[in-house]
Symmetry: C2
Subunit: 405 residues, 2 copies
Amino acid sequence: MAEIDPGRLLRDLRRLADFGRSGAGVSRPAYSEADLRAREWLCERLAEAGLDARVDGAGNVYGRAPGASRAILMGSHTDTVRAGGWLDGSLGVVCALEIARALGAPGARGEVGVDVVSFADEEGTWEPWFGSRCFCGELTPGAAAAARSGLGAALAALAGRPLARLEPGRHLAYLEAHIEQGPRLEAAGKTIGVVGAIVGIRDHRLEFAGRADHAGTTPMAERRDAGRALIEAAGRLLAGFERARGPETVWNLGRIALEPGEACVVPARAELLLEYRDPDEATLARFDELVRAEVAQANESGIACRLTTERSVPPVRLDAALASALRTAAEACRAGWLALSSGAGHDAAVLARHVPSAMMFVPSIAGRSHRCDEDTAEADLVLGARVALAWVEEVRAAAACGVGA
Amino acid sequence: MAEIDPGRLLRDLRRLADFGRSGAGVSRPAYSEADLRAREWLCERLAEAGLDARVDGAGNVYGRAPGASRAILMGSHTDTVRAGGWLDGSLGVVCALEIARALGAPGARGEVGVDVVSFADEEGTWEPWFGSRCFCGELTPGAAAAARSGLGAALAALAGRPLARLEPGRHLAYLEAHIEQGPRLEAAGKTIGVVGAIVGIRDHRLEFAGRADHAGTTPMAERRDAGRALIEAAGRLLAGFERARGPETVWNLGRIALEPGEACVVPARAELLLEYRDPDEATLARFDELVRAEVAQANESGIACRLTTERSVPPVRLDAALASALRTAAEACRAGWLALSSGAGHDAAVLARHVPSAMMFVPSIAGRSHRCDEDTAEADLVLGARVALAWVEEVRAAAACGVGA
């Protein structure tokens, strides 16, 4: 029976963290020299594991199981934010490498293989989820480079390489293992997060336009105070969000700016940046309605208010059968599991539009991520890889029942 | 009977505006070349009017009525903010000059004269109300120059000149005519503002300290959101101020800043600048209490909140008998009057601590001041000067009854 090699898993994770090491953390933005060297290193490891491995024209590293006509696709990304951590993305990629190694080459004809992928620029240094969108045919490097200045030059070293692509007849499922980037597993005392959905995101900018006046000599009733309109709207939104929320909704009023910003001048302009996330589109729609009501109320009260929606990402529901297999795998490994949503975006959200997909989380110590002290207990990293392996065996068995015999 | 000369009054106001003219407005910050030249020009006009005139060691221009043992002191200031208007301060000075000219030298022995003053640096380019505080003995140029870097150099041209001083045995009263700097006279259709009090002012800075967290992955209950604490406190303050206000209270939340200021990061720090003004200390104390309650509530909820009071100026009540004489004077001139408070600080607030003082406003077109389009209708400027002259005659008559015969 196939087994994870804990020493090899942790050694490869640590070796990968050497590329772009920056103090205690890692800086490996997409297409930086450190990122490209890490991709070459990974490509060699995948080839050693017996996969047909290459770096493609988008920067994706793709290791294809030879001799298999069907495969489970596993992976994540190896680029990082600037001054990021060592596990975000890397864990899912090295975990997939270790599982491909543990399983070895497919044996019997018709056996389901494991293909490994490390997508490029998941973090959006140039274009969010660039590699996975190219892999799924949603985008081409040429079209993206035409739209994003600098991306063409960043991709120059890869020019002429063919793109790796999702193969609908081959790829039965996608699994992405990832750190949670939040504190819920730790708080619940669980090791495995079974991700049911990846949240949808709305980012809005509200701009209120009033009139600057001397705050000492202008009677209150004569003011058109953009700051007051913002504060009152923000207060009602906070209260309304609390009432309209679902069990996993999060929201944030992250920026407020008043102009001219003097104690003795009534604010002429006020700006609010707000964001909310939820796995359920209906909850996002309720929040949207609350925001639109505030815009209308401000405009009716004589403070012109303009809403700009800067980002609107729909939620993605992951495959229920694959999630169920994750719970089974966790229980088989005696790992406590928790059903939750992902509050951050992932390549799996792109993949899920094209192939049945699953995501598995391991705990983040103190919920930290995107910083140099991002970490997970070694035992949790190893147990996570074991559960992922058990999941692969579960899904392979189901595929064999469904297709073979 | 003494009469204002409207042409002379307006001509002198326009001439004074030539010093430091800047587009449609005036830039004459304290001790700038334009300010010092304007002071020399004024000194010559006062001398022409028969006064003993000089520029003193603080930059105050002081014209003393010769032959009078008692006098009414009239004036204001001739410095401006940068890119200010032509009437703020200048009106009260030129009005006093015109009244001194209209009345001529005191005749009978014991007659009350008119002394004219233009205080230095009322606008606080170096030190707020610097000239009037020196005139009243609250401050010396040497002590102020030791505390404010640059002030000593600014005063160098005046070094060695003796200070003019308020003379308690001589000065019966102080009158400052000024533009309203607000819209209330215009809105009420009145020409003369009889100022009962000059507001007290509080400027506070509230700093909230929370913790930065990923706004997508950190559950709401686990956050220490400095921005949310600020928004909720600001909302309660706005509602509480509305309940605690007096008839003339004004308040302003003029600056809000959240850090780091990103849509997807829970604010770690939040800062609020707020100000309120009222002629009644009891109202200010109620507002103070509301602010302190918010600070306590934030601290109890785990968001450290620090209050810094950046300015605390007590309200000043002006002399009731002198205000009554202003109403009588306005009615004698068939000028509609309105009792109101001054929402801005003035030299009169300093003088009122030492001598019975009065302030009279004329309308500001659209309430504008401290900007190049600050203006007042010519007819209102002339009527204001007539009322001020009538007030002087009223006060002189009262003084004659009280002391002479």
